[in-house]
Symmetry: C2
Subunit: 449 residues, 2 copies
């Protein structure tokens, strides 16, 4: 619990946080019996023979990080990785519905996920290839598509949705209703929300980030496989081209409007800010969440074809920044503080009051800040040939009710950019603190105070 | 026309084919008047003023290749790049329907696409930021999301579908029916085909490959923007984790069944094979296609949840190779030739006759070979929580009727892997030869013999 190495203070490449296999032991505990049964692994499999390959040839050791891009982040620690960790380039995010299982079975699922996630983030396979029951007549405990790939900075971050604590009709499925953190609110309906039920909500979430999409996909797929019969994917999202720099060493990437996004983002180096605005505190109403955070996700479809037909002037006016450099329209380069007071021709402010920059700025949201960690997405095209594309917004914060919600209410009411976006998916999740070795993610919810 | 540097003989990183800006001039010709009108660019725009930014600050020069991953491939040449080019890691592929436009307007579209593609592949923007009509009161001629990114090995490859030459009802829309290459057949219905109309066909195709998905997406988006009013996206596909090594220097990647894919693939170094089996020849029935090739795409959905529940023995038997090493079940490592004759217990061959390896092997397809260049895909999940995932298969060949078609007929009838896959999309396109500088892609179709 005292290992704070994963707090994301590393450089852009992840070098600062690399571990070698020798100091990053991989949890070797096997899957629960339930998982093995769920996967159809019989107890008395026949050991395969005949083709002359060693039975354990697929027992994969963690890959040694070969380069910066192949960084390895710790899995165990005070906080989960993937929050203040320098944002990786690719995302696979999944929300799960939990099946009609018992509280003990839910705990077993979290234990199984913890074991597999700890292995995969260190560059290992999700599980061993079933030596207990014979390697051939059981399904492999890893699907294989990442066998030759390094961890590539993989982090796996778990969260709990409101419905895990209490369903809409008030059912306390797992005896957790009294343990629900006050900060895990239901998000209000925001003006112009166009949420699609099948893209919204979820009892559990898993955020897998890596610099290699095949590694992120492999992680979600194997966690989904392990959950078979206990939880199933409700919705999932692939993303690329992160839209925020979470550390100062990262250059600001661009969203699909073509603008730099996340310039004014809270940075992992701002230790005091992170402590105040990202991590849950013991006295926030749910002691078991201390060191955790709250994740809000929004799938924001952009009508990019319409956007692309707006003049450069209009685009820059709406955003409040220049498109090339990303400097505020009040002058200066990207990291110049915007000046909302100075006026130009016709005494109009140089930065429109209803520009995205102005409406989203902490100065106009009672100082509220969030740690953004979103990604661009393109999900093919719709029936009209328009790209189904946009921003998969993710943010972390200590208290959504006083951070994301007022900012989004303000944006939904006043941001002129709304003409070009539509919020189609939404999620809120309590992201518990990190697990200690031998423990499991979320243990405090079930066992703690 | 004598520049053959882009034939893919480079190393894995693309170093072998890098060009610097000085030897890779970017075509500076502007877009056609039609394109400008289509984009809503007025002829008498007012030059923006007031925020003190130089009007041409967004006129982007080609990025200098900063590293191997930021390689630049030539656009002009005897062949189009993106065929025997070392396969990049990411794909955005789009099929377009052409609107009710004239033959001249179709030519203009191809000219506009050529200009933009030549710029983008050299690391430039798709177009200049509208200096002809004022930079501010016109939409930018580039959408911006790749402004800071290098080319990252971007190639853009264009193709013509059968319906461009003649529609299903026999209409010769553009006076091209007599120019249709005999090799551009309609694909037959294969056993168990489950093709979805909205994922199949197209008058034009564009394959954008890059090591950065944002760069590939940017290319398709801008070509789609430029085509506005003239052609629209019929279907599109993002892919990652290429499933073939097109050069010997590339390690064999894995498909989402977790197996190495493309081991026995035709390689770019096999000059004689490439000449015989990939490039169209002048006497193949359409002289204008000489130096071009024929692209077949198949969107193959994998039922990976079912696959993941099969034993390792069953998986390896179906594929005919070991999962870890990828060696044939007749023994040896990955590149050992499979031995289909040797039998094991019960006198059964070590490699099942209906395994994928056996059925797809040239020995069992009259020597037919193809140049594979496919990618894995995950398009989120379906309503049952199953990952909507699989293989976006792409292959190039001189004559689909004697290469892809017999191989696929054999596979569709005999490959046991069919239990776990479903072909849901399909396309066939004539990929014309490369353009020379000042020319445009497909000029031979309209102007040549």
């Amino acid at each position: 619990m005292h290992n704070n190495d994963h707090s994301g203070h590393g450089d852009q490449s992840g070098h600062g946080e690399q571990s070698t296999p020798s100091d990053a032991p991989v949890e070797r505990r096997g899957l629960s019996r339930r998982a093995l049964l769920g996967l159809g692994i019989a107890g008395a499999g026949v050991v395969g023979a005949g083709v002359g390959v060693a039975a354990d040839r697929l027992l994969v050791q963690p890959a040694v990080a070969a380069s910066g891009a192949a960084g390895v982040y710790p899995f165990y620690g005070e906080h989960q990785s993937g929050i203040v960790t320098a944002a990786q380039d690719r995302l696979h995010f999944a929300a799960f519905d939990v099946a009609d299982i018992s509280r003990d079975e839910l705990v077993e699922l979290l234990q199984d996920w913890t074991v597999a996630a700890a292995r995969m983030t260190q560059g290992g396979s999700a599980g061993e290839f079933g030596p207990a029951s014979g390697p051939y007549d059981a399904p492999p405990d890893d699907t294989g598509e990442a066998l030759d790939l390094p961890a590539a900075g993989l982090t796996i971050t778990f969260g709990f949705g409101p419905t895990l604590f209490q369903t809409a009709d008030g059912t306390d499925r797992f005896g957790l209703a009294s343990r629900r953190p006050p900060a895990l609110i239901e998000l209000p309906h925001f003006p112009a929300d166009a949420l699609v039920d099948t893209l919204t909500g979820g009892d559990l979430c898993v955020q897998a980030c890596s610099d290699d999409p095949q590694v992120a996909v492999h992680a979600i797929r194997n966690l989904s496989r392990i959950a078979f019969g206990r939880a199933s994917v409700r919705w999932s999202q692939l993303g690329f081209g992160r839209t925020s720099s979470t550390t100062r060493a990262q250059t600001t990437p661009r969203n699909l409007f073509g603008f730099k996004d996340g310039t004014a983002n809270l940075k992992a180096e701002d230790t005091a800010q992170v402590t105040d605005h990202v991590w849950a505190h013991p006295d926030d109403g749910a002691a078991w969440m201390a060191g955790g955070s709250y994740l809000v996700s929004r799938k924001i479809r952009m009508t990019i074809e319409t956007w692309d037909r707006q003049s450069l002037r209009e685009q820059e006016t709406l955003i409040g920044r220049t498109k090339g450099e990303g400097g505020p329209l009040s002058g200066g380069t990207e990291f110049h503080e915007p000046d909302f007071a100075t006026t130009g021709r016709d005494d109009a402010p140089l930065i429109d009051a209803d520009s995205h920059l102005s409406v989203a700025h902490p100065d106009h949201n009672d100082g509220a800040v969030i740690l953004r960690r979103g990604y661009n997405f393109v999900d093919g095209n719709d029936d009209l040939g328009r790209l189904n594309a946009g921003l998969f917004f993710i943010c972390f914060q200590r208290d959504p009710a006083t951070q994301f919600v007022p900012i989004q209410l303000n944006l939904a009411k006043n941001d002129r950019m709304n003409e070009y976006i539509r919020h189609v998916g939404s999620g809120i999740f309590a992201v518990p603190p990190g697990a200690s070795e031998g423990g499991y993610i979320g243990s405090g919810l079930f066992e703690g105070r």
